[in-house]
């Protein structure tokens, strides 16, 4: 699917076993050490997630998917934007664990644009402005 760069994917390889990484992404205390200063997470489908950031922004959402030790997904609401979906994927690799985060559905009002095949047109515009990064 062509996209309007509305999915962000990041990946990091961690020198730690998958079980520890899983804990770091599902345990409230540990999440509060790296995701946001205050994180509440009920790691089961339908569970609530609340993140409070340094700047006062609060994002609330709901857990959508839990595949023990492998996959966790939730939907949250960024300020001034609609809901987006965050998915963590845990993979065992030779060096330890690869954690991939995929945040999709960013600016969901863009969806009609995508449906209308807008991306190629934006690509043309990109040539004019020189800096429209499209996936």
């Amino acid at each position: 699917m062509s996209t309007l760069a509305h999915t962000v994917t990041r990946s990091v390889v961690l020198d730690a076993p998958p079980a520890e990484v899983w804990e770091a992404i599902t345990d409230e205390g540990q999440l509060s050490e790296w995701l946001a200063p205050e994180v509440e997470l009920d790691p089961q489908e339908g569970g609530e997630v609340v993140c409070r950031f340094e700047d006062g922004e609060e994002r609330r959402g709901e857990v959508e998917l839990v595949e023990e030790a492998e996959r966790l997904a939730f939907r949250w609401w960024r300020e001034g934007a609609g809901p987006s979906r965050v998915e963590f994927v845990v993979d065992a690799v030779a060096e330890g664990t690869r954690l991939t985060v995929i945040e999709s559905g960013l600016v969901p009002n863009a969806a009609p644009l995508l449906a209308a095949g807008w991306a190629p047109r934006l690509r043309a515009l990109r040539l004019q402005v020189g800096r429209l990064v499209l996936a």
């Binding site: 990041r10 990484v21 540990q30 995701l35 300020e79 954690l99 209308a116 807008w118 515009l125 990064v133």
Partner: protein
Amino acid sequence: MATSGSAAEVRVDTVFSALADPTRRHLVEALAAQPGATATGLASGLPISRQAVAKHLKLLAEAGLVCSHRSGREALFELDTEPLVEAVAWIDHVGAEWDRSLAGLKRLVERRTS
């Protein structure tokens, strides 16, 4: 970063809302092809009235995607792609935020392991 983000984020939303309408997308395209077009000129290629076109142009202008200047009795419209750049910058900002978070996660789990 995030503190100055809110206003920009709201604007991003406005931009995408403005572009969610097929007629307005058509107008953006038409203006990309012929900068300085008039509402009358733009309406001639569409099955809607000049007034309807003017209304859509007003919405695009509110989103900052279109600007106009007067020439005699008519307003000439031009595209401003800056808000689109801003929309993309917001996406970049989200990516940078994850970079920071994951760097923090790496410190956390590797501190424990070593």
